[in-house]
Structure formats: C-alpha cells, structure tokens
C-alpha cells in the first residue's frame, strides 16, 4: 500500500517537471515549428542565474523569479537575433526543415560551453527552500517530501496560469492564431513575429522554472538538464506536440510509466521506459494520443 502511494507521488513529481519541459518545447514548436534542442541549455543557464541570485539574496524565491525572467529574456533574444535571421535567409526547400533544428543543437553546445567557462564543470548544489526529507506515513518515511509537494503545486499553478493566458486573453488568442495559421493571423493584422518571440519567452520562463524545481533534488552542472530535455521531448510527442494539454498529459503518462515500471519491475527501466512508450505511441497513434480530426473533410 505504501509502495503504491509512493509510486504515485513520485510519478506526480517527476511528471510535473517533465510537464514544464514538454510545455516549453510545445510552446516553441507551436510558434516556430522547430524542436528546440537548446531548451536544455537555456533552462540550465537560467538555473545557474537563479542559483547565483539565490546565493546572493539568500532567498530561493527571488532565485526562481530571476531564473524565470532571465529564461524569458534569453528565449526572446534567441528567437529575435538568432532564429529569425536564419528563417529569413532560408525561404524554402529541404534545408528549411533541418537548418533551424541543427542551429538549436549548435546553440545548445555554445550555451553549455559558456556555462563551463563561467562556472566550471563541477557539480554545485542548490538548497531547497523546504525540507527534502520524505514525509512520515504510517511510521515509515516515504519518498515524497515537502519539496516534492511544492514542485507539484508550482508546476500545476503555472500550467493553470498559462492555460488562462492562452484561453482567456487577447494575447492568448493572438498566440493561438499565429500558431495555427501564421498567414491568416498576419492578414488579420496580428504581428506574428512578436507573438513568435513571446512564445519563445514563455518557453524560456517555463524552462527556468523547471530547472529551479528539479536541480535541488539533483546537482547543477552544464549537462544537468539534458535528460529532462529528452523526457520532455518524449512527453511532448506522446501528447501530439500541438497542445499544452497534450504536453502535460503526455508528461504525466510518462511520469507514471517510469515510476511504476521502475518500482514494480526493475530500476533499470528508468531510461528505456521513455523510449518504449514513445515507440508504442508512434506505432499506434503517430500524431499523439490526443490527436483527432479537427477539420471536416469536404
């Protein structure tokens, strides 16, 4: 019984972090139609900034805020001064599919080297603002701590805020219109270049938050979030890449699959499980498990 509860709580915690990463990837995918591999670098660099600010201010919360703001700015700058010129030069042809994605890989390398120069390749640790000792349940310490609870609450609240932004505000409508049809959005007078940059900024903030919530349970080093990028990507694909709901649901499915298979079958399934799930979903429903025919055919 305790094992089952712990497994579920662990699934929720890891799922929440994956959800932030998959949301970041989906936000960029929707606005620019590329998979942003630099996301891992952006998130970890934002977390370094958050770490520095946490150390200097003595407050984890100020650090979180700094990581999110820095993440947003970095995302916006990357889109405006890096991606936009690339898209401007390549107008069509097969290179249009590959060049921007390769560019994000290059960017990932550059960001991680910058971190190496500035902070070195050593492991740093970021102290959690609340206890990371597991709660006591029926006189047994379980693998779910107050900090884990905080992670779940923070991720949930930020997802809700993001959903409100997208569904209930004018900016959200402009973001959705630009995502689904940049051309119609343009013809309607929406500044699509701006909404695109805003998408990158939101993704950057989500990545910064993901880092600040993940690193206290791990260590901070230049490649600290590479695995999260992979899991976030798998979650995003499971969810169909197009919707925020899909990104979160895909992340939760992944979190549960990993948590249950590692705790009931074998620890060794931690990494393979993500790919097993990915391949199963791609074989059965390549457009993601929530895909449906949105448009009627005539």
């Amino acid at each position: 019984m305790i094992k089952l509860i712990t497994t579920i709580l662990t699934a929720l915690t890891t799922g929440a972090i994956y959800a932030l990463m998959s949301t970041a990837l989906v936000l960029v995918w929707r606005s620019t139609r590329i998979i942003n591999f630099a996301q891992a670098g952006q998130a970890v660099l934002s977390t370094y900034v958050g770490y520095e600010i946490t150390v200097r201010s003595g407050s984890f919360w100020v650090g979180v805020l700094a990581a999110m703001i820095f993440g947003a700015l970095l995302g916006a700058v990357i889109d405006r001064f890096f991606m936009r010129p690339i898209f401007k030069r390549i107008k069509s042809g097969p290179i249009l599919m590959i060049a921007p994605v390769v560019a994000t890989l290059g960017l990932l390398g550059i960001i991680q080297s910058i971190i190496g120069f500035k902070w070195g390749l050593t492991y740093q640790s970021l102290a959690a603002p609340v206890s990371t000792d597991g709660y006591n349940l029926f006189n047994r310490v379980i693998a779910f701590s107050p900090f884990n609870l905080l992670v779940v609450v923070f991720a949930t609240v930020s997802m809700l805020l993001l959903t409100l932004l997208f569904q209930k505000t004018n900016i959200g409508l402009a973001l959705r219109a630009s995502a689904h049809s940049p051309e119609i959005a343009r013809l309607s007078g929406i500044k699509v270049d701006l909404t695109r940059t805003l998408g990158w900024a939101l993704a950057g903030a989500a990545g910064g938050l993901a880092g600040m919530l993940y690193i206290p349970s791990s260590y901070l080093y230049p490649n600290a979030m590479d695995v999260l990028l992979v899991f976030g990507f798998v979650a995003a694909v499971i969810g169909g890449l197009e919707s925020l709901f899909g990104a979160v649901a895909g992340a939760m499915i992944l979190g549960f699959a990993i948590s249950f298979s590692t705790s009931y079958i074998s620890e060794k399934l931690f990494f393979p499980m993500a790919f097993i799930l990915l391949i199963v979903v791609l074989l059965i429903k390549p457009a993601g498990i929530f895909s449906s025919k949105k448009s009627r055919r005539d």
Binding site: L173, S181, E183, R186, L187, G189, K191
Partner: protein, 236 residues
Amino acid sequence: MSLVVENLIIDHGAIRAINAVSFSVPTGKLTAVIGANGAGKTTLLRGLSGLKEIKSGKATWNGDSIVGKKAENLARAGIMHVSDGKSVIAELTVKENLALTGLWRKDKKDVAAATEEVVSLFPILGERMSQSGGSLSGGERQMLAIGRALVARPKLLLLDEPSLGLAPLIIDQIFNTIKKFVTTMNLTVVLVEQNAMGALAIADEGVVLNLGRVVAVDSAENLLKDPAVRAAYLGY
C-alpha cells in the same frame, strides 16, 4: 484616392507570374479581376497584401506605397485580403476567428458594432459562434472569412475567389452580400474570380489577366459585351 498599380512584376523563382501589370481601382468601386487558371490572379493579390515580395514596379494605396510593407501593417492600414481556400482557422471558434481583426483595434466599441453588423449580414455565423471554424461548411467558412475582414472596418478589400467550390445558390448569396456592403460601407473591392460571369455582373470595372499580363481593362458592362472576352472567359 485609389489603388494604383504600375508596371508590377512578381516572380515565383524563374516563373514571372505578374508581368508589367498596370491598372487602377477607383475608390468605392468594385473591380473584378478575371482570368484563367494560372493567370496570376492570386499572386497579384498576395503581392498587394504584402504576403508575396514585389520584384519591381509601383503599387500605391491612397498615395502611399505598399511595396515592401509587412502584411500585418497593411492589414492595420485597412487593406484586408481574404485569401482563397476559405481562409478560417479551423482550431479556433467562429467567435475567435471573428475577433482576430479586432484584437489590435483601439476602438473596442466599434469592434463590437462591426461584429454585430457582420452577424446581421451573415446570420448563420451568429448561430455558430461557439463552433470550431473547422466544423463549418464551405459557404459558411467563406462568410466567416469575409466577415472577419469586415470587422477590421477595411477600406480596401481583396477577395480571392469567394465562389470557389460553392453551390450556385450560395455563390449568388455571397455575391449579393458583397454587392450590398460595397454600396453601404463605401468600400473599395478587388474581386478575383474564375467565375467571370458572376463577378462581372456585380462589378463596376473589370481587369482581364492572361499569363501574368493585363489583356483588357474596361467597365464591367463593356467587358460583358466584348466578343473576345465572352469567347475566352464566359464560354459563349
């Protein structure tokens, strides 16, 4: 004050789709641009709305050049292009589709008023407000696309084949509505059509395009009587 196009050239790679095209569209009038498949009609509209780069030549709206301007800025300046293929966003509701052209407008009262006018022009849209754009029929989508443009209170409306794929009865209804709002809203309209007969019947002026070149410019009335035009585009 009007739309003036002079020696316009637009290329698709090696293909010259618009070749030294000149014509002008008087304010408050409906001008039909007709021509066979591949004549360059869509390319012309895409050039005028800023979607497609203009290679050379002049195009001015009320004296201001529109060459090299961004589509979104031209839209905000009152040039609304309803592209072909029933351009609605399938994933957004009818209401959201209609709201797009009002997002950036300062006068929110007038946006609401314009939306109401559109709904009274196309009552079916009022009944479909919370449905997704993708669930609409072809005719309804065309109405939504035109309605969305009207919410912006455009001054120049560029319509690309609003009759495409619609039943004759619906085509009549759409053409009649276009005629109606051109006269009531003091709009200048460029109507691109394969359906030359229907378009010329409601137009004031007509421009005939063939392989990227203007082959005739005249009043719609005269074009309808012109034997060459009748033989080539009206089929009798």
